[in-house]
C-alpha cells in the first residue's frame, strides 16, 4: 500500500515532521509512506492562480498516485497552520486530488493539548465540498509534550505510544482497503482521463520551451544546462559520457522511444532517418506531446490513451502490438510498450521498443537445428498479443501456452497466480500489499481482456474494431 505523508509545518525543526518520519520508517512493514513537503507551495490566491506551479502539481500527482494520505498538523492559534490550509485551498480550487482519498489526521504539539483543536478544524476543512476527502473517523492521535517524546535518534521513547501508533496505522490501512472495495471497480471509461496533450507537469518536465518547437532538444538542453558530449554521467551501475550513452543506445537493435509520465515524447534513439524506421520519428518531433506524435485519425488517440492508462495503473507492464504479417518468416516487427517505474514503483513513463523479432527466431532455429511448421490445430492469427498481470485475479491464465506467437516478456516477472487475489488491483504488484489481509473484494470487471485462446486477434485497422474498452485482441497501428 502506498501512502503519502503531509506535514502541516514548514518550520525547519518541526516535531510533526519528526513524528511523520518516525512513522514512515518504523511502520514500513504496513505501508510504503512517502513524506511530502509543502514548503514551496505559494499562499493561495484566486487572483494569482498557481494551480499549475511545480509545487502544487507535484503534490497533486503524488496524492493521486497514493492509496491514502496521512496529515500531521501542529496547532497555531488554536487551529491548523496557514501553510497547510493554503495547500488544501490549492488542492480544492481547480483540481481535487483529495476527492474520495482516505486521510488520517494526527498531530503533535508542545503542550498537553496536543493539537486537538487543530485536528478538529482540519477534519472539518477536509470534509468541505471542494476537498471531499474521506477522513478516518475516530482514532484520534495526539502527541503532547513533544519536546520530551523523542530520544536522541528521533525514536519515540514511550513503548505504549509506539504500540498505539502501530495499531492506528494498521487500522488506517484497513480503512483504505475497505474504502477501495466500496468504490468498486474502476470506471470503464477511466482511460479517458489520460491527457495526451501533456498539459500537466511532472517533476522532470522542462518548462519554458514550447513542446512543439522543432528546436525543442536544443532549447531544452540549454534551459537545463544539460550534460553533453564528453561530460560524464553517473548511472546507477556505471559511469559513461553522454557520447557513450548515445552510442550504446543506438547500437541496440531496436527503435527506442521515451515518453514521460506526463505523456510527453522526450527521446528516441535516432539512428536512421524516419523513412527507414518502423515507427517513424524525426528529431524535430522530440518534445511533442503524445497528441502531436500520433495523428487523431480513426480512434488512434483513444487506443493510445487506453494503452497508457493500463500501463500507468499497473494493469499491465507491457503491451505488445505486432505489425501485420503479410509475408511469413521474413520479418516480425513488434511494438512493445513497456511501463517504466522509479525505485519507489511509481509509473515514470513508457519505453516504446520497436523490434524485429524475426532475426532472433531465425538465429534460434539455425543454432538449434529446428524449423517452423504450421500447427494444424492452431487458430492464432498472431498479430497481437498482450500480457496482463496475474494479480488481476480475473484472468486465470497467462496467454495459452500453445500460442507460441504470444510469448510475453513480462510473464517472467509477473507473480504466479496467488490463491487469494491481491486487494490492490490497480497499483502495480507490490509484495507489501500481500501482507494486508485480503478481504473478499470482488475482482473488478477486467478492462483488459486476456483471451484464453488468444485466437481472436482482430483486423489491423481500428475502424472496425469495437473499442469502448481496451481489447487487447484488436491490433491497431498506434504508430503514425
Amino acid at each position: 500500500m502506498k501512502l503519502v505523508g503531509i506535514v502541516g509545518s514548514i518550520a525547519e525543526d518541526s516535531y510533526n515532521r519528526k513524528l511523520m518520519m518516525y512513522i514512515a520508517n518504523r511502520f514500513n512493514n504496513l505501508a510504503d509512506i512517502e513524506v511530502l513537503s509543502i514548503k514551496d507551495v505559494p499562499m493561495f490566491s484566486e487572483d494569482d492562480d498557481q494551480t499549475n506551479s511545480m509545487a502544487v502539481q507535484y503534490l497533486k500527482h503524488r496524492i493521486e498516485a497514493a492509496d491514502g494520505v496521512i496529515m500531521a498538523t501542529p496547532e497555531h492559534n488554536h487551529t491548523t497552520t496557514a501553510a497547510l490550509k493554503s495547500t488544501i485551498e490549492w488542492l480544492s480550487y481547480k483540481i481535487h486530488p483529495l476527492q474520495d482519498k482516505p486521510v488520517l489526521v494526527i498531530g503533535a504539539s508542545y503542550f498537553t493539548q496536543g493539537s486537538s483543536r487543530a485536528q478538529l478544524d482540519l477534519r472539518e476543512i477536509l470534509e468541505a465540498p471542494g476537498v471531499n476527502a474521506l477522513v478516518m473517523p475516530g482514532n484520534e492521535f495526539l502527541l503532547g509534550n513533544v519536546r520530551d517524546a523523542f530520544d536522541e535518534n528521533d525514536n519515540l521513547k514511550d513503548g505504549g505510544t509506539v504500540k498505539r501508533l502501530g495499531d492506528l496505522l494498521a487500522q488506517f490501512t484497513k480503512w483504505v482497503t475497505v474504502l477501495k472495495a466500496l468504490k468498486g471497480p474502476e470506471a470503464p471509461d477511466a482511460w479517458k482521463s489520460e491527457d495526451l496533450t501533456a498539459s500537466g507537469k511532472t517533476d522532470t518536465t522542462i518548462e519554458g520551451v514550447e513542446m512543439e518547437d522543432p528546436k525543442w532538444v536544443d532549447k531544452a538542453a540549454e534551459k537545463t544546462q544539460a550534460a553533453s558530449g564528453k561530460d560524464y554521467v553517473k548511472l546507477d551501475s556505471g559511469v559513461l559520457t553522454v557520447d557513450q550513452i548515445n552510442w550504446f543506445l543506438k547500437s541496440i537493435p531496436a527503435e527506442l522511444t521515451f515518453v514521460d509520465d506526463n505523456n510527453q515524447f522526450i527521446y528516441y534513439n535516432h539512428k536512421n532517418p524516419d523513412t527507414k524506421m518502423w515507427a517513424k520519428r524525426r528529431p524535430d518531433q522530440t518534445g511533442n506531446p503524445m497528441s502531436a506524435v500520433h495523428p487523431d485519425v480513426r480512434n488512434v488517440h483513444d487506443h493510445v490513451k487506453q494503452v497508457i492508462h493500463n500501463l500507468r495503473t499497473g494493469k499491465m507492464d507491457l503491451f505488445q502490438l505486432a505489425e501485420p504479417v503479410d509475408k511469413k518468416n521474413v520479418k516480425w516487427v513488434v511494438n512493445n510498450y513497456q511501463a517504466m517505474h522509479d525505485e519507489d514503483g511509481n509509473f515514470r513513463g513508457v519505453n516504446e521498443i520497436v523490434l524485429d523479432f524475426w532475426p532472433i527466431v531465425k538465429k534460434y532455429l539455425e543454432m538449434t537445428g529446428q524449423k517452423l511448421v504450421d500447427d494444424p490445430n492452431n487458430k492464432v492469427d498472431a498479430n497481437a498479443s498482450a500480457s496482463v498481470k496475474d494479480d488481476q485475479g480475473s484472468a486465470p491464465a497467462a496467454p495459452a501456452a500453445d500460442t507460441g506467437a504470444s510469448a510475453s516478456v513480462s510473464e517472467d516477472s509477473a507473480p504466479a497466480p496467488e490463491p487469494a487475489p491481491s486487494v490492490d488491483t490497480g497499483a502495480s504488484a507490490s509484495t507489501k500489499d500481500e501482507e494486508t489481509p485480503a478481504p473478499a473484494t470482488p475482482s473488478p470487471a477486467p478492462v483488459v481482456n486476456t483471451p484464453t485462446d488468444t485466437g481472436a486477434s482482430a483486423s489491423v485497422d481500428a475502424d472496425d474494431a469495437p473499442m469502448p474498452e481496451v481489447d487487447t485482441n484488436a491490433s491497431v497501428s498506434v504508430n503514425d
Binding site: S9, I10, A11, E12, V41, P42, M43, F44, S45, E46, D47, H76, N77, H78, T79, T81, A82, A83, K85, S86, I88, E89, S92, Y110, R117, D121, E124, I125, E127, A128, G130, V131, R147
Partner: protein, 204 residues
C-alpha cells in the same frame, strides 16, 4: 471619535468582504474613523529562527496598536478561515501581540446562503488563543449571504434588515470597547500568559 482598523480576510481584488467593510467605513463615517488594512502579500508563516518578521508586519502591528478596536470580515474557504487570514494572524502573534486585549468584531460575506458561519466560528476560536488573546464581542454574528447581490451600485447594502442589524451591532461594539477598558484583571492575565508563552518559545 474612536479609531478602528478594518481587515478584509482576503487577497482577492473583487472580494465582497472588502466591499462590506468599505460600506461599514462610509456608513459610520460620522461615528468613527475606520481604516481598511490589507493582509495579503505576506510570506507563508514559519517560525523564523531569529524571530524576525517579514516586511509590512511591523506597520500592521502599529496600526492595530493605535486603534481602539478591529473589525475583521472573513470569507469562508473549505469550511474555514482563508489561509491568507490565518497566515496574517500567525505573523501578528509571533513575538508581537497587537491583538492582546483588543476588542474585535467579526463579520463575514459569502456568495452562498450559509454566509461564513463556520469560518466565523473558527476565527473566534483563533482569536481566543493565548497568543492572540483578542476580546471578541460575544453574541454578535453578522453574516451577509448572497453577497454578490447584496450591494447596490454605490456600494450600499440593499437589504434594510441587514443595515439595521449592523447599526445595532456597531453601537454595541462601541459600548463593548468602552467596557473592555475596565476589565483590568483579564488584560493583566492575558499579558502574563503571553509572556510565558513567548519565553517557552524562546527556550525551545
Amino acid at each position: 471619535m474612536k479609531k478602528y482598523i478594518a481587515i478584509p480576510g482576503t487577497n482577492r481584488a473583487g472580494s465582497t468582504n472588502r466591499r462590506l467593510l468599505q460600506f461599514i467605513k462610509h456608513h459610520f463615517a460620522d461615528k468613527a474613523e475606520i481604516e481598511l488594512m490589507e493582509i495579503g502579500g505576506l510570506p507563508v508563516f514559519y517560525k523564523t529562527p531569529d524571530h524576525s518578521l517579514p516586511a509590512g508586519v511591523d506597520e500592521m502591528v502599529a496600526k492595530i496598536d493605535a486603534a481602539d478596536g478591529v473589525i475583521i470580515s472573513t470569507p469562508e474557504y473549505d469550511h474555514g478561515v482563508p489561509a491568507v487570514l490565518m497566515n496574517a494572524l500567525s505573523w501578528l502573534s509571533y513575538g508581537v501581540h497587537p491583538f492582546a486585549d483588543k476588542p474585535v468584531m467579526i463579520t463575514g460575506a459569502s456568495y452562498g446562503m450559509l454566509g461564513t458561519s463556520r469560518a466565523q466560528a473558527m476565527l473566534r476560536q483563533m482569536l481566543d488563543s493565548p497568543e492572540l488573546s483578542a476580546r471578541i464581542m460575544p453574541s454578535s454574528e453578522y453574516m451577509v449571504g448572497h453577497s454578490l447581490q447584496a450591494f447596490d451600485d454605490e456600494g450600499n447594502l440593499k437589504e434594510e434588515n441587514l443595515v439595521d442589524r449592523l447599526d445595532g451591532l456597531f453601537a454595541d461594539f462601541e459600548t463593548f470597547v468602552d467596557v473592555n477598558k475596565n476589565l483590568v484583571y483579564n488584560r493583566e492575565h492575558a499579558m502574563n500568559d503571553i509572556r510565558k508563552l513567548d519565553m517557552k518559545n524562546e527556550n525551545k
